[in-house]
Symmetry: C2
Subunit: 111 residues, 2 copies
């Protein structure tokens, strides 16, 4: 292996881990769609469900749980009857918004 290729390799390995983490965070059929939906407003579970018609109850619950666990979305439960649960994109989740905007541009080129 030439020194140049070795350098390429080392640089790729460290960057590789960061890129892989980012891919893990943003990838998934619905994740970006849900984050985009929460971009401007706090939404109740039912609002999200109705706004993403193709998603199953099970997958949506799982996705929202993961977004909360990743620290991107805050969930607030209100002690009301019927119970009210709201989801809000927080500052960490907002770091993803420029990625979504770019993906929208990029996606157009591949449609």
């Amino acid at each position: 292996m030439t020194p140049e290729l070795k350098q390429v390799k080392e640089e790729t390995i460290s960057t590789e881990q960061v890129i892989k983490k980012a891919v893990e965070v943003i990838c998934g059929k619905w994740r970006m769609v849900i984050i985009h939906l929460l971009r401007d407003k706090t939404l109740r579970y039912g609002d999200i469900k109705r706004s993403v018609p193709g998603i199953s109850e099970k997958v949506l619950v799982h996705e929202l749980k993961q977004l909360v666990e990743l620290g991107m979305v805050d969930k607030e439960s209100f002690n009301e009857v019927p119970p009210r649960v709201e989801y809000r994109l927080n500052d960490k989740g907002r770091t993803i918004l420029p990625v979504i905007d770019l993906l929208r541009e990029v996606g157009q080129a591949f449609m």
Copy 2:
């Protein structure tokens, strides 16, 4: 459904398709890593293989084929002994580079 929510829904559906396409294009464990590797240079198959140590032969061949089929990477075969095959990121593939740069920033926040 309120008119406001209906509008949210309609806007989400059309954007949803573009975002989903983009996710399809950029997602996958190795895709961004390979594109990043090809960012500055034309590489031979063996160079790529050595620079992405964790990838299997089968997966790498499949990934490169998909990148060529998506129109992001150009493959050139030279009639030499031993055969030489080179891969180069083309203009369409380059549209992904700003996404990778953003992902590197975003990924840091999640490490």
